[in-house]
Symmetry: C2
Subunit: 423 residues, 2 copies
């Protein structure tokens, strides 16, 4: 029954039992980590053929260029073709880079900040104040970038089918609002997926700033936990049709497909935006790591090759997500002090605990040897106004460790709730 419905004596009895559970938990001297969305060793093993690719003698791309030498800012045809096919977007509108799409996202903002976009009246650094829309809960590393540049972050809530469009439409009436973060597929941390309808509204809405940009970080575009792959929306085409061709900066990478920090990143956007980015990338350097692009193209073969790899990842990840959800339901379901998302893909489960107890849950877990992502980390400036959200990252530990950790976490959730309710 709901913890909220217990009378004082029942609560005291409940609290005593949970305190005992917690003491037993502490006595186990655990050392478990649920903090980050890192792939496990078993997942990384899937990519081991990459360790000896492209293989001696393989150093020419499809266009005959020697990938061992300098050049080609936009990346080699081999990998760009596979990726545009996988995403279902225009080949010419995809550039391939080094390992990290986060690097490109930072640079997109850094270049707009120092030099302005092609649609800007001035560099963003010369604006009195730049504001940025941040759907919450969201990805901490996104918010860290806009924080670094001193941008005011306007939070809008995530709804089931995407960020709250009414709040966004209101916000973009302000010309200081220059952009927005969004993880459209299996969002970090909720696992929500932006619907085609919301994507179209984002493409079509009027914005006061002529250089308004949506960083559409499709980090989990093909990262399903089931047999089905989500639809990848060609937002660049949607925006072109809506007369806002430069609106979307569609990012993705192989980071949780092959190896985490040594894959290939992709930038899908209007030719105008790609030329704008490469214009400054061409001052910053001579071109991406093309040997690594060829290595990946040979490993994937084609878009179906990527999907085959993702099915292997799903077979390792899905049991972990299931087990977490089972334990949450088993231990917390009846007490009405927590709710959580049930994602069909991605790397996270977002859990809301009793208001005002998230920090305490993380502290209790830490004191029992279970590292959770810091409370508030899915919010700009790490400020969760309700102190309620906790991001769970089930990918890295073994199923056995995960079970132990989650049994512990649920004890902490209940103990924090009991404390909060004065028991």
């Amino acid at each position: 029954m709901s913890l909220l419905d217990l009378d004082t004596d029942q609560r005291a009895e409940f609290a005593a039992r949970i305190r005992k559970d917690y003491e037993e938990l502490q006595a186990r001297n655990l050392k478990l980590d649920l903090t980050r969305g890192k792939p496990s060793s078993e997942q990384l093993d899937i990519g081991n053929p990459l360790l000896s690719l492209p293989g001696e003698g393989n150093f020419r791309d499809k266009d005959g260029a020697d990938v061992r030498n300098y050049g080609n800012l936009k990346g080699i045809r081999d990998i760009r073709e596979i990726w545009s096919d996988l995403l279902g977007v225009e080949y010419e509108e995809v550039a391939a880079g080094d390992a990290s799409s986060l690097n490109i996202m930072f640079d997109l903002i850094a270049f707009a900040h120092s030099f302005g976009t092609q649609d800007s009246e001035r560099p963003w650094s010369e604006e009195e104040q730049v504001k940025w829309i941040c759907p919450v809960p969201g990805y901490d590393r996104h918010f860290a970038i806009t924080e670094k540049f001193g941008y005011e972050m306007l939070t809008v809530p995530w709804l089931e089918d995407g960020p709250d469009m009414d709040a966004i439409r209101e916000a973009v009436k302000d010309p200081q609002v220059k952009g927005m973060w969004v993880v459209p597929t299996f969002a970090n941390p909720s696992g929500h997926v932006v619907s085609r309808d919301v994507a179209r509204q984002l493409a079509e809405m009027e914005t006061a700033a002529p250089d308004f940009r949506i960083i559409w970080d499709n980090a989990y575009a093909v990262h399903t936990l089931t047999d089905e792959f989500p639809e990848v929306i060609d937002v660049v085409a949607l925006a072109r049709e809506a007369g806002n061709p430069n609106r979307f900066l569609h990012m993705s990478s192989t980071s949780k497909i092959t190896f985490a920090g040594s894959g290939v990143s992709f930038f899908n956007s209007s030719t105008d935006n790609i030329n704008w980015l490469l214009g400054t990338q061409g001052t910053r350097g001579i071109g991406p790591n093309k040997v690594n692009q060829l290595r990946h193209a040979l490993y994937f073969g084609d878009a179906e090759g990527v999907r085959a790899i993702m099915r292997k990842h799903a077979s390792l990840l899905a049991p972990k997500f299931s087990r977490v959800l089972e334990i949450l339901e088993k231990n917390l379901g009846e007490y009405d002090v927590a709710r959580w998302t049930e994602p069909k893909g991605g790397y996270f489960i977002s859990m809301d605990v009793l208001d005002g107890t998230a920090s305490r849950v993380v502290e209790l877990a830490k004191n029992a040897g279970i590292a959770l992502t810091e409370a508030g980390s899915s919010f700009p400036l790490h400020d969760d106004p309700n102190d309620r959200n906790i991001r769970l990252a089930p990918s890295m530990p073994s199923v056995e460790d995960l079970e132990v950790a989650m049994e512990g976490v649920t004890t902490c959730v209940l103990l924090a709730a009991a404390e909060k309710l004065g028991a």
Copy 2:
């Protein structure tokens, strides 16, 4: 005899002969390229073992970390040890990155521009004007970066043992002068080497700006054309001893040791500077491509392994440089209309032709199917005030093509000189 000493008739006769040579040159319909300092296919072949490294089963660094996963902004011990040993600098003062040291140089300036250095009173973007010292002739891609950020570029001449210290000491009295480019070893394009004495003067000199930085781009630190390797000066230690610990940003990379765009870059500087860089790199991303770092560490083995590779490069490059110098001497030596450097390493020969004729030489060569680096490209804003300097890049063509190209280039030099002298 010197072209300048000929009388009118002799000049006319000379000009007629050279015009005929040029017509014959044009008739050959050449298509040769001496523009960029790219390694040749034969040089790239040296690195082919990298194409199947690190090899299946090799994914742990010396510290036991799985290089396939996220993390480690400073780079793995394996490659940092080899590199600090090779350069003779402190291990703790070396960070290893992705392929491009130019990327890091851009970022160092971009981060100082947007956020300021730890020694800055404010972000450089908020200075009324930032000025930057540019020894000339120098590296075009350096100048393109400071141009991009709108910095005023102050040229100082290269002397035999380094950039002109008197001019530099005068320039740094201005607090708007925030930094300086220099390629200390086998400089692009002159091949000059900065002496230990000049390096010490740079370390010791007083500067009005507390956040003055020297980007010490040691791109050719071990790129000898002889059996001898140049001394690598530990400028970070020199500057520490001089009480200016954060002055030098010492850059290098494997770009012309292994593959050109897919190697490992290195940043050697004070711990304070490394922490400052990694502070923002940690917002920009999660870490460098560590698989590629391990790949390189396994390929090199140790510092002596790097030197062994460089001897192979020298055996391919030295005959090309020799042939260029022989043809220059044979065809131009007696006429007193050109002088050139005779580098002991690096990728370029710097040639000064008769004042006011460099653009014409490049144009004549182009019209005969020989691509030379654009005249002026070794100067900020591509402005060679004397229109005299031409950068020759002998690395890429075969010796046979190089001979044909250089015979042609010398014809163009003589024809342009004859035209200039009114013959």
